[in-house]
């Protein structure tokens, strides 16, 4: 309403006539010539005018039809295109929902052999990276806008003279799974005498590849088949979170994690780690071991297993194990029994440690069963030795041309300034970054690559599985695909489409038994992937000569520092994505900031609490970084951990994200970035980049920096002083153990002290048509938070910024609660997705004075935004605390991002309550679709956004009235329970109990807890 400006205009008019300034009138100063009565008259008149103004026509809106409508396009309907996710080299299958020419919603491709329909948070957040006006819109030459023609000519000229003078050309990329891009790079480099393609992964697995070179004679990464493993032992490998291919591994891990009444069997998952990772939090048994001691533990394990295999290995010089010998011996027994059905994983960057891992896997006969080296993975190709050589070459000044694509070289490597100085001496520096990142600011030419949703590309994540990604809209800027850039510099004018097609005709077609290329190609574009013959690899026999024990840890400092990649951000590539920045870390639940994790004991020793800034100092190189501390349960007392991928250039753009109000604080302080870059702490080892260092000391600085966390309570134990019957554990997350489950499938069930037949309300609201319901299997939910971003993308959930999160005002409709139990040496972590439970006896509905939240006759608890007046009574009365109030309007900081909004879901305005709607727009769409087809809605027709993305398929949704539906079957599952069932809310959402595969914990068949 424009009453306020009109009012002031009117007053200023009075003001001029009587020569009275407006200000004092408002203060009611009668001496100034206008009295209260006249003021009210004037005000009344203006309000009336303003009100009448509202009765006029709104401005005309235009409806612009297409000039030539493509066949099959229906305005407003989503069309799905098969593609490949380019968020990381895992290359999961993607179904991109495109609507009216805009890619909007990323979904996992259910047919995909690796990801099996799941998609992680990074994949879900791709559209936000696409519609980002901070992406480079045109090429740059020495920081100035340039055009492609001029730039190509200059690059070609320089390259010609470099070729003539036999200069060294270096091309740096992260892992490339694309056969076409690899061929293009090779083709481009062919003409130079001294040219090398260097694969640099900012979080690398180089040691695994190097170890296989030693033990198998071929530098390869095995394809881990976790679905075939009955026993998974991981040393720090966060395979459910960030390690190599988390979505694929989650889908595979899930296979062994669903015990049924008839078949009460589960895989056994043991995790050794120093920090608390997502994978560790899901393990059956987790041991706290500092990462510099993995070698020692593995040595012991190897010795134990070698003895069982009949060898008599030399035990000399083996340090004492940090893990009790008895436990290791029991584990060795289990491993020995599960020969060929077990797998040892390790994320160590120490080649000697990885050699021991290979040896154990070989000893157990796992190669060929759970580790596939005939069709190896190509998802991590990083070669640190080459990277280290490149740094030496750069420092020596022997490089003439440096090309970098897909990674921020200077951000992700230590010794940034020295490196930048060395780069400044290179004759030709070209960056192909999407944004003006740190390296791009050093480059002579920036040739922005297209967003993956704008360009053609292919990928071969596993040898023999080739997938395609296709452009889904016209490029939004003057950007150019890297394939085309390489072609131009090699003197070809081909388009990326032609390059890709001809590469497929030449290289991929011969690997299949297909006839004509045209049909093969069309089918591949339609399906998104094809199975082809794997590339022949020459894998030698296991070389026993390579076997040696890993050297013991050499600790020089008080603490051992681990640099890890955070879920959602992975490396610096996604730091510009506000969804991912606001995604709570699945374990720590902190958003928008970087921190040092330390154990409760360490924190107590140093008298630190959450947010106290500590100085982390390293030994030899004397580096230091000051970061807030975060006390983390389950962390090893000697281990501190810091995430990589923060402190990215340009993230100061988020300073004003979120509402601007008088008490609001900026998300990023002036002159700062989101977090700090921890990459300078990486050690350049002899053969690999080391993300673990044992020469670290920490000291408090006395400063404090508040962290924005979405969860402040971490235990379901009721504190002794408030518990009515002594210390109790609440039954929010119910647990049992596998042996107890085998004896009694309902073990772990909480006793209910109520009669569900007794109802406060008359049962006069039948749900005749449908009764929507959902179950979430907590035993396979890993807490990875893919669902959270899927929900955000589907339901236009706004980003609120750090300060609002700190005030507990984040808007995520779906949150994942994480609880700790047990002691620090054997901590149990539970993850519980929590959203509106759609109670039939909903406490929120009875308190709404305007009936803005009501029950549908299909069992949904509806929130009607246009009716809501914002009393917030409902949120107060909701026992699950899942309702979110719009304290402000939350416009995108970048208006281009509005293109990512889902047109099916209303954008809520200020003063309105909102919550999970059970993706009612999807339900309605499916119902209408079924009506059009003249069929009833079938089970599986409707998939919630969270359910669709779930890599573990932990979420089942359907119609409870349909007795053949999956969700109906899940209601009969003996593990089913409801959260706060004792209040008889009759929720539509229920959970399946956690089953821990532990036989060393007593679990009574009744309701006692682990």
């Amino acid at each position: 309403m424009n009453s306020k400006p009109t009012n002031q205009n009117e007053l200023s008019h009075f003001g001029t006539r009587n020569s009275v300034p407006v200000g004092p009138i408002l203060q009611g100063n009668e001496a100034l010539g206008i009295n209260r009565r006249r003021f009210l008259e004037a005000a009344g008149f203006t309000f009336t005018l303003a009100a009448l103004n509202g009765c006029s026509r709104p401005e005309a809106e235009l409806a612009l039809p297409l000039v030539d409508q493509p066949e099959g396009l229906i305005p407003g309907q989503t069309q799905s295109y098969a593609s490949t996710c380019a968020g990381c080299p895992a290359a999961c299958g993607l179904l991109v929902g495109v609507r009216d020419g805009r890619p909007l919603k990323m979904e996992g491709m259910p047919e995909h052999p690796l990801s099996k329909g799941g998609l992680c948070a990074v994949g879900q957040a791709l559209p936000l990276g696409l519609y980002d006006s901070h992406r480079l819109q045109y090429p740059l030459q020495h920081g100035e806008q340039s055009d492609w023609k001029k730039l190509d000519q200059q690059i070609r000229q320089t390259l010609d003279s470099i070729a003539d003078s036999d200069g060294a050309v270096r091309f740096v990329t992260p892992t490339i799974t694309s056969p076409t891009l690899q061929a293009s790079i090779n083709g481009f480099l062919k003409r130079f005498k001294d040219a090398r393609h260097i694969t640099f992964d900012s979080v690398s697995s180089s040691a695994i590849l190097d170890a296989h070179e030693k033990t198998h004679g071929s530098r390869l990464l095995p394809h881990y088949l976790l679905d075939k493993a009955k026993l998974i032992v991981s040393f720090g490998a966060d395979f459910l979170g960030t390690w190599i291919s988390p979505v694929e591994f989650t889908a595979a891990w899930r296979v062994g994690r669903v015990p049924t009444e008839e078949h009460p069997v589960m895989s056994y998952h043991v995790h050794f780690e120093g920090q608390m990772s997502l994978t560790g939090s899901n393990a059956d048994r987790r041991y706290r071991v500092a990462p510099d001691e993995y070698g020692t533990v593995l040595n012991h394990l190897y010795l134990q297993l070698a003895e069982r295999s009949g060898q008599s290995p030399n035990r000399e010089g083996v340090a004492g194990s940090p893990v009790p010998e008895a436990d290791l011996s029991a584990l060795a027994d289990r491993l020995w029994d599960a020969r060929g059905k077990s797998v040892i994983l390790c994320d160590s960057q120490d080649v000697a440690v990885q050699v021991v891992v290979n040896t154990i896997n070989h000893l157990l006969g796992n190669y060929g069963t759970t580790l596939d080296i005939a069709r190896p993975s190509r998802q991590r190709q990083g070669n640190d030795r080459q990277v280290l050589k490149l740094i030496d070459d750069l420092n020596a000044g022997t490089v003439s041309a440096l090309f970098v694509a897909g990674t921020d070289l200077t951000h992700n490597l230590p010794d940034r300034d020295k490196l930048a100085e060395a780069i400044s001496r290179v004759r030709l520096v070209v960056s192909m970054a999407e944004r003006e990142d740190d390296f791009a600011s050093l480059a002579h030419f920036v040739c922005p690559d297209q967003h993956p949703l704008e360009s053609w590309m292919d990928a071969e994540p596993i040898s023999g599985l080739v997938s395609l990604s296709q452009p889904l809209l016209q490029p939004l800027g003057e950007t150019r695909s890297i394939l085309e850039s390489l072609a131009r510099w090699s003197g070809s004018e081909d388009s990326e489409y032609d390059i890709l097609r001809s590469s497929w005709e030449k290289n991929i077609l011969p690997r299949v038994d297909a006839g004509a290329f045209r049909e093969f190609w069309d089918q591949a574009v339609h399906d998104g992937f094809v199975d082809v013959k794997p590339v022949e690899t020459t894998v030698g026999e296991f070389k026993t000569a390579a076997v040696s024990l890993a050297p013991g840890a050499t600790t020089t400092g008080d603490y051992c520092l681990t640099l890890y990649s955070r879920i959602g951000l992975t490396d610096s590539r996604h730091a510009h994505n506000p969804w991912l920045q606001e995604l709570p870390d699945p374990v720590t639940k902190v958003t928008w900031d970087i921190y040092v994790c330390l154990s409760p004991t360490t924190a107590e020793k140093l008298k630190l609490t959450n947010g106290d800034v500590v100085r982390v100092k390293t030994g030899d190189d004397g580096l230091s970084i000051e970061l807030p501390a975060l006390v983390q349960r389950g962390q090893h007392d000697r281990v501190i951990s810091i995430a990589l991928g923060y402190g990215v250039k340009g993230t100061d753009r988020f300073a004003n994200i979120g509402p601007q109000w008088f008490e609001g604080r900026p998300t990023v302080e002036k002159g700062e970035l989101v977090g700090k870059n921890a990459a300078p702490l990486i050690i350049k080892g002899d053969a690999t980049l080391q993300f673990v260092r044992s020469d670290v000391s920490i000291s408090p600085t006395g400063q404090h920096r508040e962290l924005a966390s979405t969860q402040e309570y971490h235990s379901l134990e009721i504190p002794r002083n408030v518990a009515p019957h002594g210390a109790e554990v609440r039954d929010i997350v119910q647990l049992t153990t596998l042996p107890a489950f085998a004896r009694n499938p309902e073990s772990g069930k909480a006793e209910l002290h109520f009669d569900p037949e007794v109802q406060l309300w008359a049962d006069d609201h039948p749900q005749e048509n449908h009764s929507w319901g959902m179950t979430i299997d907590l035993n396979i939910c890993t807490g990875c938070s893919a669902c959270l971003v899927a929900c955000q993308s589907e339901n236009n959930v706004p980003v609120v910024g750090k300060d609002e999160v700190r005030r507990q005002r984040e808007m995520h409709w779906l949150r994942i609660d994480r609880y700790y139990a047990g002691d620090d040496d054997d901590v149990h972590v539970s993850h519980q997705p929590m959203m509106c439970q759609h109670c039939d006896n909903a406490p929120c509905e009875t308190v709404c004075p305007v009936l803005a939240t009501v029950h549908s006759n299909e069992g949904l608890n509806e929130q009607v935004y246009n009716r809501c007046v914002g009393t917030r009574y409902c949120a107060n009365n909701c026992p699950y605390k899942v309702r979110r109030f719009n304290w402000f309007e939350y416009p995108h900081e970048d208006s281009v991002l509005n293109l990512a909004l889902n047109p099916d879901v209303a954008v809520r305005s200020r003063g309105v309550m909102e919550k999970c709607s059970m993706c009612v727009q999807r339900i309605e769409e499916a119902k209408i679709d079924a009506k059009r087809r003249g069929e009833p809605v079938a089970d599986g027709d409707i998939k919630m956004a969270c359910q669709q993305s779930c890599p573990a398929q932990a979420i089942v949704f359907g119609d409870l009235n349909d007795t053949a539906s999956n969700v109906y079957a899940e209601q009969e599952n003996p593990r089913r329970y409801g959260v706060l069932e004792e209040f008889n809310f009759q929720q539509s959402v229920s959970y399946l109990r956690v089953v821990r595969n532990r036989d060393d914990i007593q679990q009574e068949d009744g309701g006692e807890h682990v």
């Binding site: 009448l52 509202g54 009765c55 006029s56 026509r57 005309a60 809106e61 235009l62 409806a63 612009l64 039809p65 297409l66 000039v67 030539d68 409508q69 229906i74 305005p75 407003g76 309907q77 048509n769 009501v854 549908s856 006759n857 299909e858 949904l860 509806e862 009607v864 935004y865 246009n866 009716r867 099916d904 879901v905 209303a906 954008v907 709607s917 009612v920 727009q921 309605e924 209408i928 009506k931 059009r932």
Partner: protein, 217 residues
Amino acid sequence: MRQIIVTIALLIGLFFSLIVLASGMSDWRLPDNQQGYSPPQPISYSHRLHAGELGIDCRFCHTAAAHGQHAGIPSTDVCMKCHKYVTSSFGALQDELTKADEEKRKPKMIVSDELQKLYDTLGLEDPRTPNPDGDAKSIPWVKIHNLPDFVSFDHSAHVTAGVECQKCHGPVESMERVRQFESLSMGWCINCHRESPEKGINGHAVNASLNCSVCHH
């Protein structure tokens, strides 16, 4: 005397303001009630002629009505299906033929003013020759039926249920210039959703939901 003059002046003033008010009143609605809205369009396309007189089915042009949430405004190529050949009214063509006959010359191509606007949006000079370099633009139609952002309406659900177009859009086939016939208010929607499950639509039983989230999500 002075009082009379003032009174007369005031009455004249009142008279004029009433005239201004009365003419303005015709355009006044309660907020968001757009009933009767009939803005001029960039091309005075006549639904009376096409849908009424010529009897073209609604869905010949509004193809998506049975398949998607939007009925869809036809793309320009749909117009060109006929107007590649039909460039003017029959009368004008007839006149030109007679005239050409009399003057013993070849008849000229007659293009009506409104159709010329159509060809202009496509960047055509002559309707029969496509111009590859022509700058084709969308026709900027003015939206008439405009629901608030917090409402979802799906055409296909209603068309599939057998609701006639006229039920909501009125007798469009008799309108020279389209106007919003019904109020399209929530009360009006709900009335139909209440009545139709009882009465059925064209003899068919239908299931019209009264849940809020059917439209508001």
